[in-house]
Structures are given as structure tokens and as C-alpha cells.
Symmetry: D2
Subunit: 166 residues, 4 copies
Amino acid sequence: MRIAATIIGAIAMTATPAAAQEAPPRLVPAFTIVAEIGPAEELGATARGPRRIIPITGGTIEGEGISGTVRPGAWDWQVDRADGCTELEAVYFVETDDGAVINVNNRATICPPAQGEESAPVFTRPIFEAPLGAYQWLGQGTFVGRLGLATDHPVPAVRIEVFRVQ
Amino acid sequence: MRIAATIIGAIAMTATPAAAQEAPPRLVPAFTIVAEIGPAEELGATARGPRRIIPITGGTIEGEGISGTVRPGAWDWQVDRADGCTELEAVYFVETDDGAVINVNNRATICPPAQGEESAPVFTRPIFEAPLGAYQWLGQGTFVGRLGLATDHPVPAVRIEVFRVQ
Amino acid sequence: MRIAATIIGAIAMTATPAAAQEAPPRLVPAFTIVAEIGPAEELGATARGPRRIIPITGGTIEGEGISGTVRPGAWDWQVDRADGCTELEAVYFVETDDGAVINVNNRATICPPAQGEESAPVFTRPIFEAPLGAYQWLGQGTFVGRLGLATDHPVPAVRIEVFRVQ
Amino acid sequence: MRIAATIIGAIAMTATPAAAQEAPPRLVPAFTIVAEIGPAEELGATARGPRRIIPITGGTIEGEGISGTVRPGAWDWQVDRADGCTELEAVYFVETDDGAVINVNNRATICPPAQGEESAPVFTRPIFEAPLGAYQWLGQGTFVGRLGLATDHPVPAVRIEVFRVQ
């Protein structure tokens, strides 16, 4: 019942002005995670393909309405697929300056660039789970990440710019 | 090693022109799924919250380079959370006109609008798994969906506009 | 706090008589699912390995305190791994005679027998989610399945004997 | 085809002697994991229920054909459900004495004992992923865990006795 109302509400919106209906959603900058990483550790071939671990050893989260650190003691667990792409799944916790602990699950598929093309940016599918309260919007929105090396960071790190779909 | 090269390639790109680096990624229309649905079936309260099933009974997929049907005999499995939002997970298969069968996993979180606000569009996190070949790009890209009722469809249905992150 | 108490309760038990501590848990028959299946449909090679669908078209669930049917319109989604084993994941709903609808997620890894050995039985890891009430024990216990062809069934079917760990 | 043969092989076996068919599978001791744990950290209420983290700080794995350590820097992530039970999901890596790194995913549902009853042992559903080679059997078998406090260990720890289904 409630969900029906919610969906009907959504359609009411998408059904109204043609312009609004046709414009794609936008990706609005939300915050940036810098995740410090240790050396990749190759685990060897498994039944699902070659596996490796990228240790996550610390870092920061900074953005509008959120500021904090990445907890050490976590990892990105990768597997190489038969199509030459690599699947990443990084799971870790960030702790905000006011003490909330938020779970991050960030997945991506990295594929080699087509021949003759420069490499494409790496996009990720981050999901957050936060306690109810100031940060519960993290578990209610839809987000996309853009992943790159944090070349300006004093230790090896990746930068994930997180955008909210709006 | 390979992945290191891939990430370095990615950073090489994001590190070059400041403009490119600062512009958010874009959501580019890829294709549209119209999923025909049956009446919601309330399963009652569970240990994780109230559950319901929305049967998926057919439909279509249409877009640049892809055209086909949604196979009947699938469902969207929903659960209501403590924060008033509902989690959706629809799992089904689409079959293209040239015979490829592609798995779709489409998740979303639908939250009621804040008081005094009109309802927001519903965004989804679709993941695809296609056989290697003409449709393998579906398993290599990053996508966002926009979900609404397909009011112009002859039978009850939802429309999912799928955008590729670029 | 509560969980601490629960774990302490558990250890109090396992810590007491040496005999109880050393005897392995037992697998006690709980109920049997007969799942009727359609012909396997080969989807071809994917980035994760060759995929196939085994349609689930009906069936029954029978046991102490539970009796009902398997809903049609579901499937077992399989993938062949690099070690010669096949991973199965069957997801479907059963409906009890008194109207409860229970989600079943049943996973297994099937490996070819070692050379010179007869084939081993196939064991599965079933997880259930039932509404609160008469069947909530399904979501609270730990279960193991034994999978075989239901040779005595009038249409092609598999039989899953489900055992509760005790 | 191959899978069909595998299932037919399995049924051929289970279909033969009635005695073999009727006896439940057995749980055969495989190895024991002692996981050292830090103090539980309560994260507060979330949209899925109250969450907590139990840090995993080290430990050992010992059994027939396997010996090694539990890597620190991991955690058990728990959530309390509406039925009074708690779901655990511990994810960590063990490293064998000969250098293999094995992923462990261990889930359990802990429920309070019924009124007037002593508490029940806690059973778990461990899944392993090991590199191909000496330990690939870990990713091919079906296992059940029995969880209790390791009262004889010098630091706070849980003991998981792991049994193979046979």
C-alpha cells in the first residue's frame, strides 16, 4: 500500500513535464574518500579466477556535511574475469568526526581500454550503511563513485569521488 | 600487476586536464526496460521487516543496440525498513531479439518524501550479466536506473530508464 | 550486551561435559522439497564462466509441521568454475497449505568425482526466510540439504532432503 | 550436459541402497578456528536494526591437513532482528603455514533460548575460498561450524569447530 503510493508518487513526477522526463538524472558531488592502500598481495588462481588483496590502511572522508577518517584493517578483494576485466569489492568503515561509524561497500568492474583508446575512468557502485540520525541519508540515496590514484597524497592511496544521483 | 597498470591508466586520465577532472561524470541514456507487473502480494512481517512480492510477468527492453523481451516468471522482492524506506530487489532475465539471455539484478531504496516536498524520482542500481559477445558491455559498464510507472502501457508496468555512467 | 549474554550462554553449554563438547552436531531430518524442473537452458560463456538456467516449474514441500507447494516461475542459476565444479543457486518460494509464503535460497557446489571414485552425494546450503509466526523457525535454524534426482516423481524433478543441524 | 551427468551420478548413488538413502549425512570434524576478538563496538540503530562490530584480531586454524593463523584486521558485523535473533557475518582471511591465503565468510543466526530451556549451541554456515592446489577442497565441500567462547585461550576468543558434511 505504502509502496504503491510511493511508486505512484514517483510516476506522478516523471509523468509531468516532458522536459523533466527526458533530461537524464545528474550526478552531484557529495564527498570524497581518500583510501590509503598497501601493496597488492597476489593470492593466485582460484576457482573463480586470479585473486588479490589490496590492503586498506587508513584515509579520510571529506564533503558537505561529512568529515572523518577511514579505519585501517580492511581490504579490497579483487578477482580477474575471463573477459579481461577485474572485479573489485572494497569493504571498510569510515568514522565521522562526531563519532558515527559507517559501513562502505564499494564495487567496480575495471576493464582494459579498447585497442587504440586511452583508458577510461573507473566508476564504482558504492553502498553505505549508517546509523539512523545525521548520516542516514547515506543509506537512502543512490551514489556513483569515480576512482583514481590520489597522486597528491603523501602515501599510496586511491581517491573515490562520490556523486549522488539526483 | 595488470590491475596496477589499469589503475595507473585511470589516474593518468583523471590527472590530466583540470576541467575534465572536475566535471562530474554524465549519465547517458542506454536503454529502457518496461517490466509488466502483477498485483503486489503482502507476505507479512518477517525478522527483517514486512515483505512483499511484486510479480514480473513480461515486458520489453529497447535501446541503442539492444531490443528484446522481459521473461515472465520473476519478481521484485521488497522489504520495509525501520527508517520508513523500502528496499527493492528485482531479479529477472531479458532475452534479446537475437537470442542472448541476460540476467538483470536491479536494486533500489525508495524513501517517502520529506514533509512538504513532492516525491523524488526513484533511482536504481542495475547490474547485468550477459554472455560474452555482442552484449558483454552490459557486464562491464556502470549503470543507474530511473524507475517510474509506465502509465502509457496497456497493462500495469514499471518503466526503468537505464543510463550509463560516462 | 544481549549478544554477549547469548554467546556466553552458548559457551557455558559447550564448555560443560567433555562428551557433549566432543560429539559432532547431528543432522536431523526436517522436511523434503521436490522441485520440478524444466530442461536446462545453456546461456553460453560469460565473464564468470559458462552459465545455465534450470527452470523450476512446481513441486512440493513435506515434513514434520510443514506441507505445501513450490511456486512455479523460478530457476536455478548455475555457473561452471575453473576447477571443474559447478555452483548452483536456486531461489524460489514455497507456499504452505495454511498460506505462508517462504523464500528459499539454496546454494551448492557440485564437483566431479575423483578418478576411480563413484560420485559423491550433493550437499546444499539452504537458507529460508519465513514470516514471523508458525514458520519463523525456518529463519532461525541452520540447515543442510542433500540433493538428488527424484526418480520416482512423474515429471523431471530434484529431491532436496533438508536436515536441521542440532 | 556435464551438470546433468553430475546430478544423474549423484542420484544414481542416492538411489541405490535404501539404507544409505535414509541415513542422514554425517558431520565429520575438519578443523578448528580460534578467532581472537576485541571488545564489541555498538554502532547504534540502523534502518536494518541495531548494529555492532566485533573486531577479529588474530588467532589460529588447526586440523587434519591444515595449520595456520587468522589474520588481524577483520570483523564480525552483527545486526539484531525483529524476532530477537542476531545475525552474524564474520569475514576474514586465514594464512596457512605454507603460505596459502584463504578467505573465510562465516554466517550465523543466534537466537535466545526458549523460556525455561538452556541455551542451544550456535551453528554457523562457513564458506571458504582458497587458491587452487592443496586447499581447493575448502571451496568444494559443504561445511557447518559450531561456535563457542574459547574459555581456555589466553585472550578473549571464539572457537569455531568446523565439520564437513559427508
